[in-house]
C-alpha cells in the first residue's frame, strides 16, 4: 500500500502519480487530504484499488477503465463520469450528474444524489442508498439504476432502454417513462444488490422503463423509409 498526501501535490502531479503507481502494479493507493479538489483520479486505465480519505470536488474517479475507488466523504458533480469498468463507492452524498454517461462497472453512493443521476447512462449499475434528485436517468440508454429512497421530478425522461428501480416515493415520471410491475426475480436481484452494499431493508421497489413511444417519428415523408 502507498500513502499519498494530496495536499503536497498539485492535482496534475497527483493524477500522474496515480497513473504511475497503477502501471507499476501497486495494489492499493491511499489518498489523504484531497481538500475537495476537482478532477482527482481522472483517466486511470489500469486496474488498481484507491481509497480517498475525505471529500472530493467535480469529476472524481471519472473517465476510468478498471480501478476500484472508495471515497470516504462527499463528492461534487459527475462522480464516476463515463466509467468503462471498475467500481466507485462513495460513503456520503453525491452532487449532480452522478455517473453520467457511465458505460460499465458499478457506482454506489451510500447517501443521497443530486439532480440528473445516471443521465445518459449507457451500461453498468448505479446504486444510490438514499434519495436522488430531479431528472434521474434522463435519456438513459442501457444499464440499471437502483434508488433506495425517493426520487425527484421527471425520472427516466426520454430513456431508451435500461431499468430504474425506486424504493421510495416518485416525484413524477418523465416524458416516455412508465411504471411496469417488477417480477419476483427482479426484486430479489435488487434486494441482493442492496444487501451487498449493506442495505437490508427489503422494500417493494417500483420499476421504471421506457414506454418506447418516442422511438420513432409518428410519420415519414416519402423517401424517409424505416430500416426495421
Amino acid at each position: 500500500m502507498v500513502d499519498l498526501d494530496a495536499s503536497a501535490l498539485t492535482t496534475t502531479e497527483l493524477n500522474r502519480k496515480l497513473r504511475e503507481l497503477a502501471a507499476q502494479g501497486t495494489e492499493h493507493i491511499h489518498i489523504l487530504n484531497p481538500q475537495a479538489r476537482h478532477n482527482i483520479a481522472v483517466g486511470l486505465l489500469d486496474t488498481c484499488s484507491i481509497t480517498i480519505e475525505g471529500s472530493v470536488g467535480y469529476y472524481a474517479a471519472s473517465l476510468m477503465d478498471g480501478p476500484q475507488v472508495t471515497i470516504n466523504g462527499n463528492a461534487g458533480w459527475a462522480l464516476g463520469e463515463n466509467l468503462m469498468k471498475g467500481k466507485v463507492v462513495l460513503t456520503r452524498n453525491a452532487g449532480a450528474s452522478l455517473a453520467s454517461s457511465m458505460r460499465g462497472g458499478e457506482v454506489f453512493v451510500a447517501g443521497n444524489a443530486g439532480a440528473r443521476a445516471g443521465i445518459g447512462m449507457k451500461g453498468g449499475s448505479l446504486v444510490i442508498g438514499g434519495d436522488a434528485g430531479f431528472m434521474t436517468g434522463f435519456m438513459m440508454q442501457r444499464g440499471t439504476i437502483i434508488i433506495g429512497g425517493d426520487v425527484g421530478e421527471g425520472v427516466g425522461d426520454s430513456m431508451y432502454e435500461g431499468t430504474i428501480y425506486v424504493g421510495g416515493e416518485i416525484g413524477s415520471l418523465g416524458s416516455d417513462a412508465k411504471i411496469e410491475e417488477a417480477s419476483e426475480s427482479e426484486l430479489i436481484q435488487v434486494w441482493e444488490t442492496m444487501e451487498r452494499h449493506g442495505i437490508h431493508d427489503r422494500k417493494k421497489f417500483t420499476k421504471i422503463v421506457s414506454a418506447k413511444k418516442l422511438y420513432h417519428f409518428d410519420s415519414l415523408e416519402r423517401l424517409e423509409k424505416r430500416a426495421v
Binding site: Y58, M64, N82, S101, I119, Y160, R226
Partner: protein, 433 residues
C-alpha cells in the same frame, strides 16, 4: 400578376404547407441553409499595385502551415494547410466516406474529426491527425480513444442547428451504428443537446481541466460553438480555458436537421468571425486562443477571406463531401430514380439513400465509394484550395497566410461592410461603426 410572382407566398412555401398538412411535424433535410445571406462573395481582395509589391504568384515560397491550440497544450495541432475536415459522424456518413476523409487529410498533412457517433477504428488508422469530439450524447465515448487523439473538441453547438442535438433517422441507425452508440436498432435518434455532466461556463472550465488531466496536458482542447451570441460565447469559452474556439456559422452543413432550424437560427460566417476576433481582442487573447471558422467554405478565396477576417484556420464539411462525389452522377447511379431529384439538387442526406455511397449505411450504395479514390479526390481538392489561398496571399504581397488581415479587403455591399467591419469598395466608409 399570378401567385407564383409573390415573394411572401412563393411556390416553395405553398409546397411546404401542403407537405406539413400531410406530415404533422417539422420537416427534415440535410445540407445547409437556403437563406440568402452575406457571405465571402461579398468581399474582395485589394491586391498589390504601387503601394506594395506582390510575390511571384505561382512559385515563390508562401507558408501555409498553422499551429492550433498552443495556448496550454504541450502538443498543439500543427497542420500543413489551414483547412481541416470537420466532425461528421460515422452514422451520418458511411465507413468508406469516413476512411476516405481520414486518408485525404493525412495525404495533405491536415486533420479530420470524429463526429457524434464515437470513433471508428478505421478512421483512426486512416488519420494521422484526429480530433476527438466530446459531444452531449457521448455516444461511444471512450477514454482510450480520447487519449489516443491529437486534439479534443467539446461541442457546445452546431451552426446548422444551434441549440439542438444530433439527428439520425432510423434507416441509418443500422447494426453497427446502433451498437457503437448503444441505442436500440433502427430508432429515429434525436441526440441530447445539453451535456450530461456540465451546464454553464464555470462547469465547462472544470470539464476542460478534466480532459487536460486525462490527456496529461498534451492535447489542444477546442470548444465548438454554433454562431449565435458569438461575442459573449467566445469570451466565456476563452475564460473557461479553451485552447481553440471553433465558430460554426448558420451556413454550415448537416446530415439531418429540422428545416426550420437550418434557415432561421444562427448568424453567417463573416460576422461570426469578426465578432469572435473582437471578443478575443477585448480579452487580450487574440493570437493566444486559436480561432477556427466553419460554414460555407468552397474555395481558396473563402479560406483566404476567413483568415483575413481573423480566423487561424477553417474547417470544411460539405465541400469535402462534394469532392467525394456528392451530387454527381457516376457509373451505377441514377439520382432521379434513386432519390427523386437530379444530381446537383440533392440535399436528402438524412434518408440514407445517398446514391454515391457517402451519407448511407446501405452496403450496396456504400460500395459505390472507393475510399482510396475518394481520398485522392478530397486531397486534390484541399491541395487546390491551398494553392488558391497561397496565390491570393502572394498577390497581396505576403509570404505567409498568417499575415492576411482585414485591411487586405473591401466590401461589395453595405451589409458586408457592416458585418465584416471593412470599408465599402470605392469608399473609406465602414458601415455600422
Amino acid at each position: 400578376m399570378v401567385l407564383g410572382s409573390s415573394h411572401i407566398w412563393a411556390t416553395h412555401h405553398i409546397e411546404d404547407i401542403h407537405a406539413k398538412a400531410e406530415l404533422g411535424r417539422y420537416r427534415i433535410r440535410g445540407f445547409s441553409t437556403f437563406q440568402k445571406v452575406t457571405h465571402f462573395d461579398d468581399l474582395v481582395f485589394l491586391s498589390t499595385g504601387l503601394t506594395r509589391f506582390p510575390l511571384e504568384g505561382y512559385k515563390e515560397k508562401c507558408n501555409t502551415q498553422v499551429v492550433l491550440g498552443a495556448r496550454y497544450a504541450s502538443e498543439p495541432l500543427v497542420i500543413d494547410t489551414p483547412i481541416y475536415v470537420t466532425g461528421m459522424s460515422y452514422g451520418a456518413l458511411s465507413r468508406n466516406a469516413k476512411v476516405a476523409l481520414g486518408k485525404a487529410a493525412s495525404l495533405v498533412g491536415t486533420a479530420t474529426c470524429t463526429g457524434d457517433g464515437g470513433m471508428l477504428q478505421d478512421e483512426r488508422d486512416a488519420s494521422n491527425k484526429l480530433i476527438y469530439q466530446v459531444l452531449p450524447s457521448r455516444y461511444g465515448f471512450d477514454p482510450h480513444h480520447l487519449m489516443g487523439a491529437n486534439a479534443a473538441e467539446i461541442v457546445v453547438g452546431q451552426g446548422a442547428k444551434p441549440g439542438t442535438g444530433g439527428l439520425l433517422m432510423g434507416v441509418k441507425v443500422a447494426d453497427n451504428i446502433a451498437e457503437m452508440r448503444e441505442l436500440p436498432l433502427g430508432i429515429d435518434q434525436r441526440s441530447p443537446t445539453r451535456h450530461p455532466d456540465w451546464l454553464g461556463p464555470d462547469d465547462l472550465s472544470i470539464k476542460i481541466e478534466q480532459i487536460r488531466e486525462a490527456t496529461e496536458g498534451r492535447l489542444p482542447i477546442s470548444v465548438k460553438l454554433g454562431a449565435c451570441r458569438v461575442a459573449d460565447d467566445v469570451k466565456l469559452a476563452a475564460k473557461a480555458g479553451a485552447d481553440t474556439i471553433v465558430i460554426d456559422s448558420m451556413v454550415a452543413g448537416t446530415g439531418a436537421s429540422a428545416e426550420i432550424l437550418l434557415d432561421h437560427s444562427g448568424i453567417p460566417t463573416v460576422p461570426a468571425i469578426v465578432q469572435a476576433r473582437e471578443a478575443l481582442r477585448e480579452l487580450g487573447l487574440y493570437g493566444q486562443v486559436s480561432l477556427v471558422a466553419s460554414g460555407g467554405i468552397r474555395n481558396g478565396a473563402d479560406v483566404a477571406k476567413a483568415l483575413a477576417l481573423g480566423a487561424d484556420a477553417v474547417a470544411i464539411g460539405i465541400a469535402a463531401l462534394i469532392a467525394l462525389n456528392c451530387n454527381k452522377e457516376i457509373p451505377g447511379t441514377n439520382f432521379e430514380d434513386e432519390i427523386g431529384v437530379k444530381a446537383g439538387y440533392c440535399n436528402r442526406c438524412h434518408t440514407g439513400l445517398c446514391p454515391v455511397g457517402i451519407a448511407t449505411q446501405d452496403p450496396v450504395l456504400e460500395a459505390r465509394l472507393d475510399p482510396d479514390e475518394g481520398a485522392e479526390r478530397v486531397a486534390n481538392f484541399i491541395n487546390s484550395m491551398t494553392m488558391e489561398l497561397a496565390l491570393l496571399t502572394r498577390s497581396l504581397g505576403k509570404g505567409d497566410v498568417r499575415s492576411l488581415e482585414p485591411e487586405d479587403m473591401a466590401a461589395l455591399t453595405i451589409e458586408a461592410s457592416a458585418m465584416a467591419q471593412i470599408p465599402l469598395a470605392g469608399t473609406n466608409k465602414v458601415f455600422g461603426m
